[in-house]
C-alpha cells in the first residue's frame, strides 16, 4: 500500500463521508462459511470501535469511493458546484484499507458510498466490483454497508445485496417539494421503487432461506435496509419528517431511519442558511422514532396537526403524557404492558422488570427507585401499592417542573 498517495485521498474521502449518520454494523447474520483463508465475522450486535469528540461511534470505515459528482444537491458537500478538493480511490486501495484496518481491529467493516460519476449504473457497478472483490477474492466476512446510487438499475442492486450486509438509499428530505428544491436531479419515484425492490428481495431471500433451506446461497442484505433524512436544511416540520419515517417503516420494512442535523459544510450553497446543527431536535426525533417503533405510538399522537413540531425541552413521551393526563395515574401493579410503556421515564427494559417482579410482589414507590428507571419523572404518572403525596399530576406547574428536570438530566 502506497501510504503517501493514500494519505491524501483518505483525508478527502473520509471527510466527504462524515455527513452520513449511520455507522451501524448490527443486525446481520451472515453465515460464516468454513474457509481457512477467511477473515472476519459479523455478529448480530455490532461493535463501536472508537468514538470521536462529536460523540459519534466509529464502527465502519466510512468512505466515499469518489467525491466527484454530477449531481447538484444543494445540501451536499460533494455537489458538482461545490469547490472542494476531489479524489477517487482505486478498488484495490479500498480493499487494502479495509483489510488492513480490519486486521488491526480498528473497524467492523466497510461503509462504502460514492458521488455519481459518468452515470448511476457505472458508479453502482464500480461499488459492486469493490465489495465483490472483498468477498470473493479476499474472503472478507466483516460487515459491509453499501450505499445504493440514485437511479441505479434494480439488476445491479440485486447483485450488490448478495455481497452487502446492509443497503441504504437515502431519502434525505421529507417532502416532495423539499427534494425538488434542494435535490433537483433526484426522483422520489425512482428512489421509492429502489427501496421497494430491496424490500422485496430481502423478503424473498428470507423466505427461500427458511422454506427451501438454501443455506449455502448468500442472503440478500441480511442486515436490512436503512435511510437517512437531513433535519433543519428546509422548513419542514417534525410532523412531516415523522410521517415520512413512519411510511418508511411500514411500506419498505426499513430497519432504521437516521436523522442527521444539517451541519454547516464548506462552500455551502446560498439557498441554505448555515447555523449550528440542531442537535437537540435531532435527539428528539430519534426519541420519537423509538416511540413509533417500540412503544406503539402513532405519529398523530406525538406531533398532532395543530402542534407539528416536537417540544425541545421535553422528551416526546412526557410531552404526550402531559396532554393526556386523563389516562393517568397508571397502576404499576395491574396495568397491561401497552399502558406501562406509555409512562414517562419508564423504558422497555424497566417494563420487563416490572412485569416479572409483580408476579410475586406488589411494587411500592421505593422499589421503583431501585429499578434504574427515571423515577423522578415517572412518579407523577403512576399508582403503586403505597400512596405518594408529592405527585404533581393535577398541578399546572408539572410541565415546568419536568422541563427543568430534563434539562439537568441530559447531556447537552
Amino acid at each position: 500500500m502506497d501510504h503517501n498517495r493514500i494519505r491524501k485521498k483518505l483525508k478527502i474521502l473520509a471527510d466527504a463521508a462524515k455527513y452520513d449518520a449511520s455507522c451501524a454494523s448490527s443486525g446481520s447474520n451472515r453465515a460464516k462459511k468454513p474457509d481457512k483463508n477467511a477473515i472476519g465475522d459479523t455478529q448480530s450486535m455490532g461493535i463501536c470501535h472508537s468514538y470521536t469528540p462529536d460523540g459519534r461511534c466509529i464502527s465502519l470505515l466510512k468512505i466515499l469511493m469518489t467525491n466527484y459528482c454530477i449531481y447538484d444537491c444543494k445540501f451536499c458537500i460533494n455537489r458538482v458546484s461545490s469547490n472542494v478538493q476531489r479524489a477517487r480511490f482505486t478498488p484495490q486501495e479500498v480493499v487494502d484499507l479495509t483489510l488492513s484496518f480490519y486486521k488491526r481491529n480498528y473497524i467492523e467493516g466497510l461503509f462504502l458510498s460514492s458521488g455519481i460519476i459518468r452515470s448511476s449504473d457505472y458508479t453502482m457497478e464500480c461499488l459492486l466490483n469493490i465489495v465483490k472483490a472483498l468477498r470473493t477474492q479476499h474472503h472478507f466476512n466483516g460487515y459491509i454497508h453499501l450505499k445504493v446510487i440514485p437511479e441505479a438499475s434494480q439488476t445491479l442492486i440485486h447483485q450488490a445485496g448478495l455481497y452487502a450486509d446492509r443497503l441504504s438509499a437515502n431519502i434525505e428530505l421529507p417532502s416532495k417539494q423539499d427534494i425538488k428544491q434542494l435535490a433537483p436531479e433526484k426522483s422520489i419515484t425512482t428512489l421509492k421503487s429502489q427501496m421497494l425492490g430491496i424490500r422485496n428481495d430481502i423478503i424473498e431471500s428470507k423466505h427461500d432461506y427458511k422454506t427451501k433451506k438454501k443455506y449455502k446461497l448468500p442472503m440478500f442484505a441480511p442486515g436490512g435496509q436503512s435511510t437517512q433524512m437531513i433535519v433543519g436544511a428546509t422548513q419542514s416540520h417534525d410532523r412531516s419528517i415523522l410521517k415520512t419515517s413512519s411510511s418508511m417503516y411500514k411500506n419498505y420494512n426499513m430497519r432504521r431511519v437516521y436523522y442527521s442535523a444539517f451541519s454547516p459544510i464548506p462552500d455551502a450553497h446560498s439557498l441554505l442558511s448555515l447555523k449550528k446543527p440542531p442537535l437537540i431536535r435531532e435527539h428528539r426525533l430519534y426519541q420519537a422514532d423509538w416511540l413509533l417503533r417500540f412503544y406503539g405510538f402513532d405519529v398523530d399522537e406525538i406531533v398532532p396537526e395543530d402542534v407539528p413540531d416536537l417540544d425541545l425541552n421535553l422528551d416526546p413521551k412526557t410531552a404526550w403524557a402531559l396532554n393526556r393526563r386523563d389516562l393517568f395515574p397508571i397502576d404499576i401493579n395491574t396495568a397491561d404492558k401497552e399502558l406501562l410503556l406509555r409512562i414517562p421515564g419508564i423504558g422497555l427494559r424497566s417494563v420487563q422488570k416490572i412485569l416479572h417482579i409483580r408476579k410475586y410482589h406488589q411494587l411500592q414507590h421505593h422499589d421503583l427507585k431501585k429499578l434504574g428507571l427515571a423515577y423522578n419523572r415517572a412518579k407523577h404518572f403512576i399508582k403503586a401499592k403505597d400512596h405518594l403525596k408529592s405527585s404533581l399530576l393535577d398541578h399546572e406547574q408539572l410541565k415546568q417542573h419536568l422541563s427543568s428536570e430534563s434539562k439537568q438530566m441530559e447531556l447537552w
Binding site: 477467511a38 463501536c48 468514538y51 469528540p53 466509529i58 486486521k103 454547516p264 462552500d267 448555515l274
Partner: protein, 258 residues
C-alpha cells in the same frame, strides 16, 4: 463458623458452594476470603461431601459471569443469593429491586461491558509483514481474557496473534491457542505500525467539528482506555480546534452570500 481461603476459580467456588448448600449452611456462618488465618479444611470434616444440586440455568450463567469480577466480595454475594434461592425465595433473581440481586446484576453488567469494550478497543500492531502476525497489549478492568478470546479466535482465525494483558496472555497460531502468564507492555509500545498513521487520518477526518460532544465520547470511551488507543492522541487537538473550524465555516458562508 466456616472459614474459606482465597477462591481460585469459579469451579473452586462451585465445589464449596455445593457442599455448603447440601449441608444447609447459612451465609451468616461463613467467612469468605479469610486469607490464611484458619481454613475451611480445619472443619471441612464436619460437612457432608459435595453433591450436585439443582440450580436454574440463569443463576449459573450469572455466577460464571460474575466470577470474572475483580471484587472478591463476589463469592460471598453469590453464595448468599444461591442460598436464598434454594431456601427462601425461588424467584429471587426476578426481584430486580432486591439489594443482593441488584448488586449481582450490576456486577454482571460491568463484566458484559468490559468484554464488549475489549472487543472494541484491542488494537493490533503488525509484527512482521507478509506473515500476518499481530500483537496487542490490553488492560481490561476484570479477568475477562478467557471470555473474550473465542471472539478473536473466530474473527481473526487466519492470522497469527498475541494478546497480552497484565494478568494473563494468549496466543493464536491459526490452529491452537496457547495461554501464558502476565504480559508486559514494552514489546507492544516499542513496535511501530505504519497503518496507525492512516487510522489517525481517518479518525480526524470523520470527526465533525460542528457537533462537539465531548461528554458523550467520554462516557462511551472512558479516559482510562485512551493510553492504549493510538487514535486518542488526536483528541485534544481536535477539541481545541473544533470551535475555530466551525466558526470559520460559518464566517465563510456569510461572505459568499454578501
Amino acid at each position: 463458623m466456616y472459614y474459606v481461603d482465597t477462591i481460585e476459580s469459579f469451579e473452586h467456588w462451585q465445589k464449596l458452594a455445593r457442599s455448603f448448600i447440601f449441608n444447609q449452611i447459612s451465609p451468616r456462618d461463613i467467612l469468605w476470603n479469610h486469607n490464611g488465618q484458619q481454613s475451611l479444611w480445619a472443619n471441612s470434616n464436619l460437612l457432608e461431601p459435595a453433591q450436585k444440586i439443582s440450580v436454574s440455568r440463569q443463576f449459573i450463567h450469572l455466577a460464571k459471569t460474575v466470577a470474572c469480577h475483580q471484587d472478591n466480595e463476589k463469592w460471598e454475594l453469590l453464595y448468599r443469593v444461591l442460598y436464598r434461592i434454594q431456601f427462601e425465595k425461588k424467584h429471587l433473581l426476578h426481584m430486580h429491586h432486591d439489594p443482593d440481586v441488584k448488586k449481582l446484576l450490576l456486577m454482571s453488567k460491568a463484566i458484559a461491558r468490559d468484554c464488549h469494550k475489549m472487543k472494541a478497543f484491542v488494537r493490533f500492531k503488525e509484527v512482521k509483514k507478509k506473515s500476518d502476525c499481530f500483537i496487542s497489549w490490553y488492560e481490561p478492568d476484570h479477568c475477562i481474557l478467557d471470555r473474550v478470546t473465542p471472539f478473536f479466535k473466530n474473527r481473526f482465525a487466519s492470522m497469527h496473534w498475541v494478546i497480552l494483558t497484565p494478568y494473563k496472555s494468549v496466543a493464536w497460531n491459526t490452529k491452537t491457542l496457547t495461554w501464558g502468564g502476565p504480559g508486559n507492555s514494552s514489546i507492544y509500545t516499542q513496535l511501530t505500525d505504519q497503518t496507525e498513521e492512516l487510522w489517525d487520518i481517518f479518525y480526524c477526518s470523520i470527526f465533525n467539528p460542528n457537533r462537539l460532544k465531548v461528554k458523550m465520547m467520554k462516557s462511551e470511551m472512558p479516559v482510562r482506555f485512551w493510553k492504549n488507543l493510538p487514535e486518542s492522541k488526536n483528541i485534544q487537538s481536535l477539541i481545541r480546534n473544533a470551535q475555530h473550524e466551525s466558526f470559520k465555516m460559518l464566517e465563510q458562508s456569510k461572505k459568499t452570500k454578501t
